[in-house]
Point group: D2
Chain length 378, copies 4
């Protein structure tokens, strides 16, 4: 089976997230990077291309040209990875979809629901695959929890306590460097900061694991650290369809928290606990109240989750492996598309539908907050 070829938009020198995507894809060598528009500055693009071993003629000065040219090549890319700033995703994704190229795009997908829905429609019309890289859902343990809940292990979900606090922006007049500056700047980030960056991960993680759909939200979005202009602490009441409830909390000033995405899911027959910073384990508690700590690699892990593990239990896997898992499923689907054997149920990665849901969530929260913390339906 020939290796897939892919291209990248963004991911120039020093761009953390682009390099992370490349490393994740290279983990299982499922696809080879052959083209890129790594920077709007063509010099920088060429320099990065040289480092990455990309032929100069496939280091494009413009993403539109890249989409066209790669679509036209016999050995053109099968998919593109979009890792540019947030507010450029829409145009870039659209260009590649129109050129008939599958897309993997970093989250958050775009800035409005309508843009997201347009991309969703376009992908559907063209029969193209579209992944939104909510990395955390790639963890074996996340897939395991999803399987446990589907299998009825904890009964009906009653309430979900979900949170993703960080602490790096706790300080007045400290903008967290390049990463923080654009997030905190309304001109670049739009109306939302913390909720867009972290809140969408929370929403997506809960949805992926529990299968619950949000019915309505009541959001308190606060601007706390002196000098900030956008939300840096979001405390949100959630009602899910079917009656479950929950709280989603995100913060950027919670000193001592790094990427502290945590899920605590309470059902009628048991509970599940998960923490992103120790992603190799799940705590399952059944009706006897006894925590069972189940690790990736154990016999108890469901096959649909276990298959993503690369190393025996005790050899820790981390964030890159989680992202690699998303790409493994995505690449397998792209291959199947190429070979005409694709089936919908092969998809085991976050799709554009989840990207759309993330934006709906953000918009409903913004509306709730603006109106004084009232319930807003999604």
């Amino acid at each position: 089976m020939a290796k897939l070829r892919y291209g990248m938009v963004g991911g120039g020198p020093g761009a953390f997230i682009g390099e992370a995507h490349r490393k994740a894809i290279s983990l299982d060598a499922t696809a080879e990077l052959v083209a890129g528009c790594f920077s709007r500055n063509h010099e920088k693009c060429l320099a990065q291309g040289e480092i990455l071993g990309i032929a100069p003629q496939r280091c494009y000065p413009d993403y539109r040209e890249m989409a066209r040219a790669e679509a036209a090549r016999e050995d053109g890319i099968s998919f593109v990875v979009v890792v540019t700033p947030n507010n450029t995703h829409y145009e870039i994704c659209k260009a590649f979809l129109e050129a008939g190229i599958h897309v993997a795009c970093d989250k958050p997908l775009v800035t409005t629901v309508s843009e997201a829905e347009e991309l969703e429609r376009l992908a559907k019309d063209k029969g193209l695959l579209f992944m939104v890289t909510y990395t955390y859902t790639g963890h074996v343990t996340m897939k395991f929890m999803r399987d446990l809940i589907r299998g009825g292990e904890i009964g009906t979900v009653r309430t979900v306590m979900a949170e993703y606090p960080q602490g790096w922006l706790y300080k007045e007049n400290d903008w967290g460097g390049k990463q923080g500056e654009w997030r905190c700047d309304p001109a670049q980030s739009g109306r939302v900061n913390c909720l867009g960056d972290l809140g969408t991960h929370v929403e997506n993680a809960v949805a992926t694991v529990t299968g619950l759909k949000i019915k309505r939200v009541l959001a308190k979005m606060d601007v706390v650290v002196p000098g900030r202009k956008l939300d840096d602490n979001d405390q949100i009441l959630v009602e899910y369809e079917g009656g479950a409830t929950g709280i989603n909390w995100t913060s950027q000033f919670a000193i001592g928290c790094d990427n502290s995405l945590r899920l605590r899911i309470y059902g009628s027959k048991g509970s599940l606990l998960w923490f992103q910073e120790t992603p190799e384990e799940v705590t399952l508690i059944r009706e006897d109240g006894i925590p069972n700590i189940i690790k990736r690699g154990y016999g108890a892990v469901t096959p649909g989750a276990a298959k993503y593990g690369r190393l025996p239990s005790g050899h820790t896997e981390g964030w890159l492996e989680a992202m690699g898992n998303l790409y493994d499923s995505f690449a397998a689907c792209v291959q199947a598309k190429n070979q005409g054997s694709f089936m919908e149920d092969m998809i085991d990665y976050p799709t554009i539908e989840e990207g759309v849901n993330g934006l709906k969530y953000v918009e409903a929260c913004l509306k709730s907050n603006e109106k004084g913390n009232i319930w807003v339906s999604l």
Copy 2:
């Protein structure tokens, strides 16, 4: 110094909480039980009195008679401990206050704000001490956190994530035995179950440790487990005076949680983490993001907290010691009152003012919930 004498109302055979109070008081032998109205059934009262070594003539059939008789004795009790069901506290406490006897009453204090305020007024008018036994605040580690925050160690408090989930009432048609039945029964508990039992502990713990006063609440009080008639899951947004925010969560169906009172306090210069089920330690995180786990008995603990420890670090103290600490301070104050040396700043236990605040909190939450989860000021 003569040992104090005290009496008890409630605490008959098999009553867990009465026995717990007696054990806590006996820990440091600060006061001796000499009188009681242990049961409305006089036979039972006498039987319990015999077990406890109380003279039969001081085993009273009626608490009013007890108040009168003990007030009249030269060797009468200095204080009474009230550990009867909730809805009887008001009349009992009133009787003893009117008889000029100091009162220690189990929480929640009474069932309405107006009753609470009346008791508060009465105690004040009579110059009597009134403790409400919010046990958890007696932990050395809680007092240590209070001192750290007062000392500015974590700067200005920005947000407080507080919770007290339990799991014992997760099951349909299982009422948790005698303890659960009355709590879940509107006829005995009034309009509130989980929030009264657990939510008041959360409110009080945050207030004690941070010194923050609640400005307003937005409460979602849900009746979740099939068959329940009162709230068993409460998710509450809080705004404090001065601008801090928080979430208070309590639940009775969170499988795997026992008495999982947890505080996470995020300030402008650091954070504090505390968990009731490992009460011997506090996690303090300063601006470098590094958790410091400080244990009771360590040199780093402030003197005002450290003095309550009985055992060297590593010899675990628990819930009884926490309650004992409350009584140590209360007994010292009663002694000082008896000797005319009492000063207000000697008080290091939860007073009736905190009992009043707990009821205000409950009433505001009930109102918020009834009106569809709107903000209600306290």
Copy 3:
């Protein structure tokens, strides 16, 4: 049922361990202190007696007189608690045994095997009960582990990793105050320091929980901190009868360790993990490798262990409760002796036989170390 009466030798003003024993006994009010020889200085003895509410005529200047006088009284003590320095235990215990009074003695019992055996013989001849207060074995969780192993839950024990490091004597020329000075002084402690104080706890904890008997030891006893004269770090290989092996480690300079008694027991079908500083839980791992964290108060705890709990799960119990549990069983046995209903299998506390075993262990280790770390049989 009349309350038992007991006396105490030692436990004068400021003596931590005497006060701890009194608190532990008072927890369940199983016995009342009515006599004592609290200090060799009679003034101090009387002063302490007054604080404790003991009649002056029962505050004895001499333990021998106390033994005689109490034995002669109709309302004399049923048992004595010996909490004096180690090297005085033998004479004191002997005096009370000879007077026909049951004995509870702090550990380590005495300083030589022959003294210990003599006391054992004496108690047996007189039909008297003799408890050695290895406090940690009183924990509900310890009894639970013992029951699990007896019930075959983890199969045959293969190896036991046991340790009890402390850190308080890590510093050169710092003798840890009054507590440390006598321990580190050969004139007062004899040939052993760390192994006597901590090593006997380790030996006893393993024996109690596993039921294993030590066949032979190979001991490395080091004097590490500059200025010390006795062992402060002991690393010991153990072979048990039946073939199991183990390592016992104790230290006094392990910075960051308080009372870090830890047991890790590996059997043919499962493992058990326990840590003294979180004594409310046991980790049981069966063949699937999944840790099950079982807490005191849970339904899974065996009845013979569960019955010692005083508080519902989630209300932490600690070290005092563990000691209280020893006294509960001891007092029940003394009562049964008094009433003629005693049966051997009622004993659920560490007996003098265990005190003898502790001394045999220490002597074998000393011999092994002196001979250059060779195997020495017990």
Copy 4:
């Protein structure tokens, strides 16, 4: 800078460790695989080569031929990775060293000290680099601890408690599949099983982090699980030069342990704790006894360790990254060799000297055990 080219001996289809090395090298794309002798079966070798994208003419049927041919090519490999079974390492490494090619070899290096020393001499004579892939020492946190100890942060090391228990071979007549069978078979593994596989990791981890050299050992190597012929539980007393002591424990039947390499290092001014299964953090305890939990990515991490991190703190890195770190340093040294800029102090990976030390440790332990657990000098 041109990418390095490397070859591999071993790592055929289904070989876990070969694939792991390839993934680790690919993480930072420091070298490209261009040649291999992946299997003694040439068909299999070619098949694997095709999957890996290696030209058929560089898929060699014989490692000697590969060494010769690659050494002769202008575009030949700069280094070879040897991931064959243990007992073949010697001949293979020798062949490549003789051909002038740098070597990275899996641990344990070879089966006797003399073979190891011969390879060491050969590498030295030829001026070639030789890495032994003790993966765990690649963790940022391990390098951080090394730096802390070198910097005097915990004073003089006094005792080291080191262990690496596993549980996968706990079961009678269960040989743990392909991985276990050869380890447990004297014909393939020689005289040692558990100590060679796990004990060498322990020895190397302690040496790397503390800089201590072993003076002598007293080893108890037991064959415990019925049916085993080689050691599956090793409990070893260690004396280091300079007077520090320690215990090294390894086991294959410790149910509940996966890759539970744990270091606890106690110095005169502080302690360091580390656990391989949570490799993102180090616990540093200074004289105040307060655990400081320091994570990879924090400002407190020393620059020499921090530079190996790829992801911000909170994005977990794991075992592959640790191995990748070894290769990053090795590849940088190989590049420097190629460019004539190599300096000894550039080496930040385990060298053949450490491989030799591992074998000396194993041989001394075997001798100690055979002679009845006596001290044997290294």
